[in-house]
Subunit: 346 residues, 4 copies
Amino acid sequence: MLHFECDYTSGALDVVLKALIDTNSEQTSGYGEDPHCEKARAMIREKCGAADADVHFVVGGTQANTTVIAAALRPFEGVLCADTGHINVHETGAIEATGHKVLGLPNVDGKITAAQVEQAVTAQRSDASHEHIVRPAMVYISHPTELGTLYTKEELVSLSNTCKELGLTLFLDGARLGYGLAAERDIDFALLAKTCDAFTIGGTKVGLLFGEAIVLTNHSLKDCFRYHIKQRGGMLAKGRLLGVQFEALMQDDLYIDESARANGFAQQLKDAFIQSGCKLYVDTVTNQIFPILSAAQLDHLSKDYQFSFMEKIDEKHSAVRFCTSVLTKKEEVEKLLMDIHNSAGN
Amino acid sequence: MLHFECDYTSGALDVVLKALIDTNSEQTSGYGEDPHCEKARAMIREKCGAADADVHFVVGGTQANTTVIAAALRPFEGVLCADTGHINVHETGAIEATGHKVLGLPNVDGKITAAQVEQAVTAQRSDASHEHIVRPAMVYISHPTELGTLYTKEELVSLSNTCKELGLTLFLDGARLGYGLAAERDIDFALLAKTCDAFTIGGTKVGLLFGEAIVLTNHSLKDCFRYHIKQRGGMLAKGRLLGVQFEALMQDDLYIDESARANGFAQQLKDAFIQSGCKLYVDTVTNQIFPILSAAQLDHLSKDYQFSFMEKIDEKHSAVRFCTSVLTKKEEVEKLLMDIHNSAGN
Amino acid sequence: MLHFECDYTSGALDVVLKALIDTNSEQTSGYGEDPHCEKARAMIREKCGAADADVHFVVGGTQANTTVIAAALRPFEGVLCADTGHINVHETGAIEATGHKVLGLPNVDGKITAAQVEQAVTAQRSDASHEHIVRPAMVYISHPTELGTLYTKEELVSLSNTCKELGLTLFLDGARLGYGLAAERDIDFALLAKTCDAFTIGGTKVGLLFGEAIVLTNHSLKDCFRYHIKQRGGMLAKGRLLGVQFEALMQDDLYIDESARANGFAQQLKDAFIQSGCKLYVDTVTNQIFPILSAAQLDHLSKDYQFSFMEKIDEKHSAVRFCTSVLTKKEEVEKLLMDIHNSAGN
Amino acid sequence: MLHFECDYTSGALDVVLKALIDTNSEQTSGYGEDPHCEKARAMIREKCGAADADVHFVVGGTQANTTVIAAALRPFEGVLCADTGHINVHETGAIEATGHKVLGLPNVDGKITAAQVEQAVTAQRSDASHEHIVRPAMVYISHPTELGTLYTKEELVSLSNTCKELGLTLFLDGARLGYGLAAERDIDFALLAKTCDAFTIGGTKVGLLFGEAIVLTNHSLKDCFRYHIKQRGGMLAKGRLLGVQFEALMQDDLYIDESARANGFAQQLKDAFIQSGCKLYVDTVTNQIFPILSAAQLDHLSKDYQFSFMEKIDEKHSAVRFCTSVLTKKEEVEKLLMDIHNSAGN
C-alpha cells in the first residue's frame, strides 16, 4: 500500500534526520532557548528580510493557530476565514476552546477576498446592535489553502492593505508554505513579512519530523508571546529539536527546492489523471491534486493506494485528493502514474 | 417618539409589578431557594404536565443560553442552529466564550429542519477525519425564531425524533415563547416538555421586568445545574424576584392571553402595511412584523417611531421590523395605524 | 423566623421601589442606553469627582467581577487576592471559567498588603522559569472584605501606588461599599476613583432589587467594555431598571446614610454579644458581625433567627455571622437584642 | 559547561534514536493510528496488566495534563493538588485556560494525603453555600513529585480508596515516572493501573526526544478521548514518532533500568554533597537532589555547571537542584563529584 492521502506519512528528510543524530548528545538549555533555535531564528529573519521579526517554534499546527489567535484577539473578537478554512473545519473547535468565534466567509476555491473582509467588517461595525455581534479583528488565510490553491501577490497585498486600513490582524497559516512558495515565485518570505502580521512556516508537511515556525512581524503581537506558547501547550521541553530541524531545512534553498520537486510529482499525477479522462474538483499547481474519479477508477486505485475522499459528485463519480510531499519517492510516483494510465477508460 | 423597535421598551405588566410591591418587605432566603420560586416552579411543572421537570430562573437570555449549552456539551461538542439563530449572531460570542462552536445551518425563514440536522450529524460522524471536526451534540432552535416565524407541531416533533435517534440534546429558546404559543395553539407547554430536552419560557419580552425560566426535562441535564447557573453569572442574589414575577405571569392563561393581544396588534399593523402597498420581508403571525418600506415611508415613519432596520432591499426599499409586546397600548397602535395609512403611496 | 444570614433577604428601599413604579410605563431604548442610565452615570461621576470615568451597570456581582477581570487581563495573566477573597472562594470558579487563575495570598482579617503584592510580583518576574508561571497583572480587593473589615486610607493608597509602580490593575469589589464608606469616612468615592483602576458600587446588598455599578477610571479598560458586558451575560435588556434604581440610590447622601443606620444596628448586636460573654471571630465596624457562640446560644438563637455558620472553633463554640442591611427594621434588631441578652450565660 | 539543571538537556537514548532512524522511510497513517503506536500501546497495556486500558500518546506534559483534566471535569469542577504541584505553579495557567480551578492543598515534601482530600471534599459538600464553591472532583498527584519525593504504596492506595469513596478521579502525573518506579519497587505499572483512573508515563525526561503516554483505566474517561487530544493541541501529525519511541523505551526493563542508573548517579552526588558538609532542602532517592549550598560552593560550582535555584535559605545559603537523567554520562558525574569534593569547606 502506497500512501498519498496526506503529506505527513513518512519521517524526515535525510538532512534533517542527520542533524538530529549529529546533535543528539549535545547538552543545551530547554524550551527553545538554545543556540540551534537562535541560529534557526536568525536564518528565518534573514530570509524574511525582517531583522525585527520575532520567530518562535512549536510542534504542530493546532498549537500555532490557537497560540497566535489567542494572543491577538480580545475576548469578544473573532477571526474571519474561508468557510473551508482549517481553523473552521479541522481543529475540533480548538479556536473556540480559546473563547473566540471563527467567522466563516463563503470561499471560492478555498480563498477569500479583501472585498469580503471589508464587507463583513463594515456590516458589523455599522450595525445598530454591533455590541451584540462578535467583532471581526483578524483575517486568517492559508497559503496554499485547504484546496491546494494559491493567493496571487495582488490578492495578498490587497488583503493586507484592507486589514491595515480596518485595523485587523492578518495571519497566514503556512502549514504547506514550501509548496506554495515553490509554485508561485512572486510570493516569497519577504513579501509575507511585509504583508502579514503573523505567518507560519510549515515544517511537518515539508520534511521535518514535526515543527512549525511562527513569524511575528507586528510589534504588538510580540510581548510575552512565550507565555502564550507555554499556556497553549506548544512549548517543547527539548526545544532545540525544533531549532536543529529548522536549521537544516532553512539552509540555502532547500525548503523551496524540495517542495518544487514534490509539486512536480503532483503535477505529473494531475496530468495523468486528466489524460485518463478525469475532470478536476479544483485545479491546483501545488502538492495536492483533486481528480474526480469514476467508481471503477476509485476501486482500481484503492487496492494499492491510500488517498483522501473529498465528496461524492454523482452516483458514479467521487472527488478525491492525492498528496505528494518532499519525502515522496520517484518510484512511488512512477508506479502510480502507470496505474492511473491503466485505470483509464474505467 | 413611540418605541416599536423591540419587545422590551417598557417595564412590567401591572400584575407583575404589583406582586413585587406586595412582597417587597418579606424576608426570604436568597439565590432562588424561597417559597415564591418554589411556587412558580410548581406552576410551570403543572402547565408542562411534567412533574419531574427541573425549573430554574435566570435574569436574562444570554445567561439561559450559555448555562444550558455549557451544561449539556462536552468540550469538543458543538451546537447546531440556524445561521440566523440568536446564539450565532447576537450573543457577542458568549457561547464560544464557554468553549463551544456554534454550527450554523442555512435557514429558511429562520428555521432549520430535521433533515438538515441528520445530514450534518451524519456528515461529521462518517468523515474519515471526524475526530478533527467539532461533534454536533445539540440542536438549538428558537420559537418564535429571530424572524418571528414558528415551527409547526410536525416540524418540532420531527426535530425531536431526529435528536433522540442521534443522541442530540434539543434545546428550544423561548425568549418570545408567549407570542409563539398564542399564535399557534397546537404547540403548548406540554408538547415542549415532551419534545425538548430543555427549553426556556421568556419573561423579559413578555411582561416581566426581567427573567427567563429554564425547564429541564432530560434527566441527564439536571445534576448540579445550579452550579452552572452560578458560574455563568445567572444566579440572582434576591432570587425570589424571579419567582414572584413568574408566579404572577403563570397565573391562569395570562401568559398566553396577553401575548395574543400583542400578536393581534402586530397583525393589525402588518395588514395596514400591506394595504399601504408594502411587501413583506417575511410573513409572520406573531408580535414581530417585517414590512419592506419605500424610502419615503421610512422617512415619514422615522419621525415619530423607533423601529429596527433589517436590510436594504434595493436602492429605494428597506426591510424593517416593528415589534409589539404585552405592554403595547391600544392608543399607540392606533396612532401608528393612522400614520401607516397616511404614508401609503409614498 | 427573622433573617440575618445575609444582606439580601428583602426587596428594595421604598424610594427605589417607588422609582420603578413611577417609570414603569415609560418607553425607552434597551441595554442601558436610556436617559435614566445616563442620569445615574452622571450622578456617580460627580460623586467620584471623575468626569472622565466610564460607568456601567450590571445585574449582579459575578457578572461585574468576571467582566472587569476578563476585560483587563491577557490570557496568561492572573489576579492576586486574599485567599478568602470572594472571587477565590464563592464564585464557583467563574473567574477560571474566563480562563484566568486566581492567585490567593494569605489574608489577615480578610485583607492583603502592598508588601505582599510586591513580593508576589517580584517573585514571579525574577524566577528563571517565569514564563511557566501565571503572571500577576491585577490586584482584587473588596471593601468591606468578606470578613466585614476595612482597608484604611493609608493601606489603600499604598496598594494603589504599588500597583501603579508594577503596572498592575487595581480592582476594588464594592459589593458592600455603602457599609464601608459609612463606617470609615476618610475613604470616599473620590478617593476610590483616584486609587483604583476599576471599582464597583454595590446595589443588591445596599437597598436595590439588584444592580452593581462598575466605575472605570483607567482609560485602557474603557474601550469596547460593553462588548465584554454582553458576552459575559451582564447586559440587561430592560437596562433602564438599573439606571432608575441607581438614580434613586445616589440621591444626596442616601447611600451612605442608609448604610450607616445598618452599621449602627450591627454594632448594637455586636455589643450585645460581647456583653453576653461572646468573643469575636473578627472585630468589625460594618454591617457584618462575627460572634463566637456557645453551643447553647447557637441552639437558642437558631430557633427564631437565620444566620450564617463560619467555622467550628472548638467542641463547644462556633463562629457565626449576623448581617444587617439598609432594609433591616428597628423592631427586628430589638427582638434579636433581647434574645441575645436572654441567651447570655448559656 | 555541564548541564544538571533539568532532565531534558540532551536528545534521546541511542536505542530510541536508532528506532527513529530505522523507521524514517516507512509510510504510515498519521495521528497515532499506525502499527507502531498500536504495538507500543499493547506493550504498555501488558506491563500494566490492564487489557482494557486505553493508551494515548501526546508530545508533552502540558498537553497530557490539560487533556486529561478537561476530559474528566465538568465546568464547575476543580482539581485538588499540592500547592507545589506542577499544574498549580508551572503550567502558565494552562489548566485555568480550560476553565477549571486548581485547588491547592498544603504540601509536605511535595505530597498530599488522603486525609487532606477527604477534608477538602467534605468541607465543600457540607458548606451551606456549596453551590458557590468549586466542586473538587479530581485529585492530581505526581510521582515523583516536583520535589523528587515518592508516595509509598500505602499512601497511594489510601488516596485511591478515598477518591473511589468520594467519587473523585485520581490522576497521577508520571512525567518522571521511570525514576520513581526504579527507586521504590513496591509501586509498579500494575499498581498504578489499579489505583489511578488515569496516569502518564513520562518519556521526555526519561530518554525520548519527546512524548508522554496517557493510560486511562477508568472506563468513563475513554469515550471520544481523541477529540479532546486534538482540541487541546496534543495530536501529532506524524503520530507514529511517539509509537516508535515508546516501542523502544518499553522493551524489556529498559525504562526502569536506565532510570535506576540515573538515580544511582544522583545519589552519588547527594552523598558527595552531604560529605562536603551540605544539608539537604529535601531528601530524595530519585534523580533530583536538593543540596543547600554555601555562597562559596554556589559560586564555585556555577562556573562549570548549570543547576536550578530553589530558594534562598539565609544570607549565606541557598537551596539548589541538580538533576541527572538516563542520558547523563558517567564522566560528567565523576567530574562533578570531584568538584563537589573540592568545594568542601568553602
